[in-house]
Amino acid sequence: MTGMMKVRLGIGRDDYKVPPGLYAVGKPDNNSPVLVTANYKLSLDSLRCELSGLQAWIAVLDTRGINVWCAAGKGTFGTAELASRINALRLRRLVNHNVLILPQLGAPGIAAHEVLKLCGFKVIYGPVRACDIKEFLNNGMKASPEMRKVSFVLKERAVLVPIELVHNIKPMLLIYSVLLVLNLASGKHQSFSIAAGMAFLNFIPYLSAFLIGCAAVPLLLPWIPFRSFALKGLLLGLMPAAFVLLYPETFGCSDDSWLFKASYLFTVPAAASFLSLNFTGSTTYTSLSGVKKEMKYALKPYIAAGALGLILIAADSITRLLF
C-alpha cells in the first residue's frame, strides 16, 4: 500500500523494475498458458494477483521498468525483445504448445505475424485490463468487445491527480517566490510575515490555475465543454482571473494597482490552459495529430500571454518606484 502511494506520488518511481525472465504462478506444467508482461513492478504484481488460483507461466520482458502501453509505444515492449526473450528462455522445451498471451495494450509494439516467424510462437492478444484475464482464459481465450476497450473513467482519472500536482509544484513555488520578492521590494509592509501573507493572497489565482490544470480538468474532463484540452483549461482559468478583477482586495491587490490586476487576466488563464494541455500525456484517448493541432494554435498565445503578464507586472513595479 505504501509502495503504491509512493508510485502514485512519483517518489522513486524510476526504481520499480523487476528482473526480466520467467515467473511461475501456482505450479505450472507444460500445458499451462504463457502470459507476457513488462518488467514494471505494478504490471507484474497486478497480473500475478489476477492469476492467483491458476497455474501459469509469466514471461517478463525487459522494458526498463516501464509499463506495457508506454513501453509498446517506445518499442521496448517490442517484436525483437519478445522473440529474443522467448528464444533465450527456451520456452519451446518448457511447454508443448506455441501460444503466447499478450496484453492488448502491448500491440503497438508487437507485430504478431513477425513474432511467429522469429520464434515460432503465435501471439494471442488478451484483454486490456488484467482483471479480465481469468474470464478471458475461461472463455477459451476469447475477449469480449468490452474487454478490448480502454476506458478513462473518473476513478482512473482521479489516481492521476497526485502525480500531476507533484510534477507541477516547482513552477508554482517559483511564482510564489517572485510575488514574495515583489512584496518585499515594495517596502509597503512592516514585516516579513505580512509581506509573505500578502504574497500568498496575490498567489491564490495562480494556485487556482494550478488546481484547475492538475485536478479540475482531469476530474471533470468529459463534463467541461470543448474537446480541446487547451480550451477546457482556458474556460476554467478565466474564472479566477475574473474574480481578481471583481474582488481585488481579496487577492491583496490595492485599487491603484490596475497594471498588476490586469496581469492576471493574461497569466492565469494561460497557465490553466497550458497545464490542462499537458494532461493530454496522461490520458488514454488523445492522438498525436490532435495534440499537434492544439499546440499549433496555442503555443504563440501562451508565449504572448506570459510575456504580456510579465510586462504588466514589471510596469506596475516601476510606476510604484517612480511615483
Binding site: G10, R13, I66, N67, C70, A72, G73, K74, Q104, L105, A107, P108, G109, I110, A111, A112, H113, Y125, V128, A143, P145, R148, K149, V150, F152, L160, I163, E164, V166, H167, L221, P222, W223, R227, S228, F229, L277, N278, F279, T280, G281, S282, T283, T284, Y285, T286, S287, L288, S289, G290, V291, K292, K293, E294, M295, L299
Partner: protein
C-alpha cells in the same frame, strides 16, 4: 460520458483492396473503431482514433497505415524545440513527465 478528442485529425488510412480479413486490427484497436464487416476490416468512428499504431503494426499485408505517436503535449513541445519527432525521453528540454511514460 464518453471522452472524445479533436475531430478530423486522425491519419488512419485503410486500403480496402489489401485487406485479407484476418481481423487482427479489430482485435488490437483500443477504442474498437476498427471492426469486421463482410469479411473485411472497416472503420466506425475515425475521430476516436488515438493513433497508437497497433492496427498498422499487426497488419500482415500493410493495408493500414497511421502516423503513430504519443498524444502528449510535452512530447510535442520537445519535438518542436529539438526539431525532431515528438518524444518524452529523459534529458530533453521539458523534463520527462511522470504522469505518462
Amino acid at each position: 460520458m464518453e471522452n472524445k478528442y479533436i475531430r478530423n485529425v486522425s491519419t488512419l488510412k485503410l486500403e480496402d483492396e489489401k485487406c485479407i480479413g484476418c481481423g487482427m486490427c479489430a482485435a488490437v484497436c483500443p477504442h474498437q473503431l476498427l471492426f469486421m464487416q463482410d469479411g473485411k476490416s472497416a472503420v466506425r468512428d475515425k475521430d476516436m482514433c488515438m493513433e497508437c499504431g497497433a492496427c498498422a503494426k499487426n497488419c500482415p499485408t500493410s493495408a493500414i497505415s497511421v502516423e503513430c505517436g504519443v498524444g502528449c503535449a510535452v512530447a510535442v513541445l520537445n519535438g518542436l524545440f529539438r526539431k525532431s519527432s515528438p518524444e518524452c525521453e529523459s534529458g530533453s528540454i521539458f523534463k520527462k513527465r511522470k504522469g505518462c511514460c
